[in-house]
């Protein structure tokens, strides 16, 4: 016990530091993403300079093999990554939480069937499921990629929701709410969802990072946003042929991906400690 009290202040400090770093990284991407809606340094589809130019004051990250400004492409990439992350996690959350709650309330055999189905789905890599869904739809575009990733992520959300909800369901305060005449929809809304949210939200952040990376992979394979949408995955794919002459084209998307994924994780970790009153400083 004494060791936990001793480390508590340090923990708290590191948590708030993580939160700040998360806000900074995510805020940077959000700001750039929003900026692309009103202003871009160059026309993203037009030739802005020579081919494969190095970094200069005019072109901060240089140009790609078609002479397009790489920094402009990267900025649009931020916007696409955010849309994909938010969209995929939202779809995954709606499907996953609904299925998970259904399983938690279902009769034993239905619950077992759902749990087994989810386990099988989880056994497949997220990317593979997403590729199957994209392949099954006629056109490969950004929206089909988002929906595919959302569906692929929902299995994990559903399993997590199911087990978390089951744990809350056996608590005395649920029985107490039922004794006082609360119906199930109300109990789900005011007791179950708030109590599983801290854990779910951290999971959503992890999945946001996963979705952004998976979309980059899909785009890299030509299954994501089609040209001329400048997804980070596509920038990476287009740069791979010229990686020895213009390495920035491959390094920049990599750094952008990692910084966004880490930022969201730090943010979620910090936010959970702020949302959950039992984790707040006493």
């Amino acid at each position: 016990m004494s060791t936990t009290t001793m480390t508590a202040p340090a923990d708290k400090k590191s948590h708030s530091l993580a939160l700040k770093a998360g806000i900074l990284l995510v805020g940077l991407h959000v700001a750039i993403g929003l900026l692309t809606l009103v202003w871009l340094p160059y026309d993203p589809t037009a030739m802005a300079g020579g081919r494969l130019e190095g970094p200069s004051l005019l072109h901060w990250l240089g140009t790609d093999r078609l002479g397009r400004d790489l920094f402009t492409q990267m900025m649009i990439g931020s916007r696409i990554a955010l849309v994909v992350g938010v969209g995929a996690v939202a779809i995954g959350a709606v499907i996953g939480v609904t299925l998970g709650l259904l399983a938690a309330f279902a009769s034993k055999w239905l619950d077992d069937a759902l749990a087994a189905t989810l386990d099988i789905l989880i056994a497949f890599p997220t990317l593979l499921i997403a590729m199957l869904v994209v392949a099954a739809s006629d056109t490969a575009n950004l929206w089909s990629a988002i929906v595919a990733l959302g569906i692929a992520l929902s299995a994990i959300v559903a399993r997590l929701t199911r087990i978390l909800a089951k744990r809350v369901l056996v608590m005395d305060y649920i029985t107490a709410a039922r004794t006082s005449g609360s119906g199930w929809p109300k109990i789900v809304a005011i007791h179950i969802l708030p109590n599983i949210w801290p854990t779910l939200s951290v999971n959503f952040a992890l999945q946001f990072g996963l979705a952004v990376i998976a979309e980059a992979s899909l785009s890299y394979l030509g299954l994501g946003a089609p040209p001329p949408n400048a997804s980070w995955g596509r920038i990476l794919q287009e740069a791979q042929g010229t990686v020895y002459t213009a390495p920035l084209g491959a390094i920049a998307p990599g750094i952008a991906l990692v910084s966004l994924a880490i930022g969201v994780n730090l943010l979620a970790d910090g936010l959970r400690d702020t949302i959950d009153p039992t984790r707040r400083a006493r």
Binding site: S107, K108, V170, M171, D172, Y173, T175, A176, A177, R178, T179, S180, G181, S182, G183, I190, H191, P194, N195, P198, D276, P277, T278, R282
Partner: protein, 269 residues
């Protein structure tokens, strides 16, 4: 007038195993009945069966009539009407009986608003807040304003149990079921909570079903007692008679154990 709660040959089964068998008891408004026995003797299951809250996998048979309505086999929708008006439960562990992420004032407001709506006099806004504070005051919590804004983990065990009692009272129940309400508390807090329950049951003229394995507590709280052992009723009757002249070996052994503990506490062993 028929009894408020009347159990006749109530049995609870898990598969083919009987957890409670052929339990009969009846309780009228203003009466206090103790249900005693060791852990796993079916005390809590009896109270859950009487309110239709048995967990999935357990089946009840026989008859449990609560406020004139048959509980066994009734659909959840009908039971919801019955719960929160006829009966309320106070649980053993006040920490798990409160939602850890909801301010306690809101947790008390929830059943209060529902009961008021059912009575046709909806409460909201400041009127509801006032009613919550009045209720916290009634369960003798100091500084109701501050406590209403607290989360359960910020309160002491005794304060939490008072909140749980306030939530039960918010339903204005005719029958209060107290399931080992003092087991998780220390001895001083225990007697305070028992005093509070005693006062509230008297003032509001409720019936009390008191579940406990603590014989001295039972002896001071209730007038009638039913002794359970492995789901079977071994003895029932007036609490003074049963404790003074136990007719069953099991009751005798329970009493002897309680006495040995008393002796040990007072250094006579």
């Amino acid at each position: 007038m028929s009894a408020l709660l009347s159990l006749e040959n109530l049995s609870v089964h898990a598969g083919s195993k009987a957890l409670v068998s052929n339990l009969s008891l009846s309780l009228n408004r203003g009466e206090r009945l103790g249900l005693i026995g060791e852990s796993g003797s079916g005390k809590s299951l009896t109270s859950l069966a009487a309110t239709g809250l048995l967990p999935a996998g357990l089946a009840a048979s026989g008859s449990a009539i609560l406020a004139g309505k048959q509980v066994i086999g009734a659909p959840d929708r009908e039971l919801n009407q019955l719960r929160g008006t006829a009966v309320a439960i106070v649980f053993q562990e006040p920490l798990t009986a409160l939602d850890p992420l909801m301010r306690v004032g809101k947790q008390v407001a929830e059943p209060l608003a529902r009961r008021a709506k059912r009575d046709g006099t909806p409460l909201s806004g400041t009127a509801l807040d006032q009613a919550v504070l009045a209720l916290l005051d009634e369960v003798a919590l100091p500084e109701p304003q501050r406590i209403a804004k607290s989360y359960p983990h910020e309160l002491s065990g005794g304060q939490r149990q008072r909140i749980a009692i306030a939530m039960a009272l918010a339903c204005k129940p005719d029958l209060l079921i107290a399931d080992e309400p003092t087991t998780a508390l220390d001895v001083t807090t225990q007697s305070e909570i028992l005093g509070l329950l005693d006062r509230l049951v008297r003032e509001r003229n409720m019936a009390l079903l008191f579940i406990s394995h603590d014989l001295p507590v039972v002896a001071n709280t209730v007038s009638q007692v039913v002794v359970l052992r492995q789901g079977e009723t071994v003895e029932a009757g007036n609490v003074a008679d049963v404790f003074a002249n136990p007719r069953h070996d099991y009751t005798r052994s329970l009493l002897a154990a309680a006495r040995r503990l008393d002796d040990a506490m007072e250094g006579r062993a």
